[in-house]
């Protein structure tokens, strides 16, 4: 990474944290990944003023939450459906599909689906507000952001695959 790039990244961090608060990261989540997503979306939308910055920040934070919730749901289904059973002498374990436990955890999975739906609706609202804001003064952000979203969905699926294997 060049000095110019690192300077602009640290500037993004400082300004962003002052106005929008800390990025929604938990232990084990990489700030670099978050900043990459932030930079990609900013590059696609090219915010024209601070109001667009605010809305893009919402969009990025919510996208981050959605990716985490999707991975969480996949992990939860795996953990509920496939249980390790003790199998005879020698303390061997076998993995089996456990429909009963899965059905008990369905409420929990539905709760995560609901949270994902809420976050998606809010993220889409942020994008609509950028479009509406620009329409007042001209400019169209739509298509580029959609391309990034599709890329992120592919990423999320590949992460879910990795979690399974």
């Amino acid at each position: 990474m060049s000095t110019g790039e690192s300077r602009s990244k640290s500037l993004i961090r400082t300004e962003r944290w002052a106005v929008f608060g800390l990025p929604p990261l938990l232990d084990g989540e990489e700030l670099e990944d978050y900043e990459e997503l932030y930079a990609e979306i900013s590059e696609a939308v090219k915010p024209g003023d601070i109001l667009e910055d605010i809305l893009i920040c919402d969009f990025v934070d919510l996208s981050w939450d959605i990716l985490r919730l999707r991975r969480m749901k996949a992990k939860l289904i795996d953990a509920s459906a496939v249980k390790r059973f003790y199998h005879g002498p020698g303390e061997q374990f076998v993995d089996r599909f456990d429909a009963q436990t899965l059905s008990q955890d369905l409420d929990h999975i539905e709760q995560i689906e609901h949270m994902t739906a809420v976050a998606e609706a809010r993220r889409n609202n942020a994008l609509r507000e950028i479009e509406r804001h620009r329409a007042t003064f001209s400019g169209v952000p739509g298509r580029n952001v959609q391309q990034i979203e599709e890329g992120q969905i592919v990423d999320a699926e590949s992460v879910e695959e990795n979690d399974r294997t």
């Binding site: 929008f20 601070i50 109001l51 934070d61 953990a79 303390e91």
Partner: protein, 186 residues
């Protein structure tokens, strides 16, 4: 048209449901607003007020009229409120995530019952098998831990979602009013 009888019944019911009655109940409900402080306006905190003013000036620009500055202030208030709610959620989630043995209370109880069984019956004098030790000492980690936190504290997170929704709505309408005023050239 609502009948007189119905109005009287409604009023009588309302008188009967006027909140907590006991001293303990009243003391507890008096502390409701202080649990996370998010129902207090941002202006009650001098540091947040300063943030609101700074952000409002940045949104309005250097040569803004008083009307534009006032509209920008409404956006800034909603934005800082939103930041406060999100920071509270993030802090709660991160603090729970850092606890090494976080899990459902029911899971803890089941493990305690299992241990009690093992220690009080014929297994009392023999070392516990590895699989029992593993079941008792393992707690959810990573994404499963986050899912456990969100589920176990769902009531608290739902309350925060309501605050967030209100702040988002306030900000949306404030931005629209601001844009409209700028379009008119105020």
């Amino acid at each position: 048209m609502i009948s007189e009888t119905k109005i009287r019944a409604n009023r009588a019911n309302a008188r009967d449901s006027s909140g907590p009655k006991t001293a303990n109940g009243r003391a507890r409900s008096a502390r409701n607003a202080l649990r996370h402080g998010l129902s207090l306006p941002v202006h009650s905190d001098p540091a947040l007020s300063e943030d609101v003013e700074m952000l409002a000036r940045e949104i309005a620009g250097s040569k803004a009229s008083s009307e534009i500055l006032e509209l920008a202030r409404a956006i800034a208030e909603a934005q800082i409120d939103l930041r406060r709610v999100r920071n509270a959620r993030q802090q709660r989630l991160a603090a729970a995530f850092r606890q090494p043995f976080y899990e459902y209370r029911t899971a803890t109880w089941k493990k305690a019952r299992l241990m009690k069984l093992c220690l009080t019956r014929e297994l009392a004098d023999t070392p516990l098998p590895d699989y029992i030790v593993k079941v008792v000492t393992t707690t959810p980690q990573g994404l499963l831990k986050i899912a456990t936190i969100l589920s176990r504290e769902s009531r608290w997170f739902r309350a925060l979602t309501r605050y967030e929704r209100r702040a988002l709505s306030r900000r949306k309408f404030a931005i629209r009013a601001f844009d409209e005023a700028r379009r008119r050239g105020a």
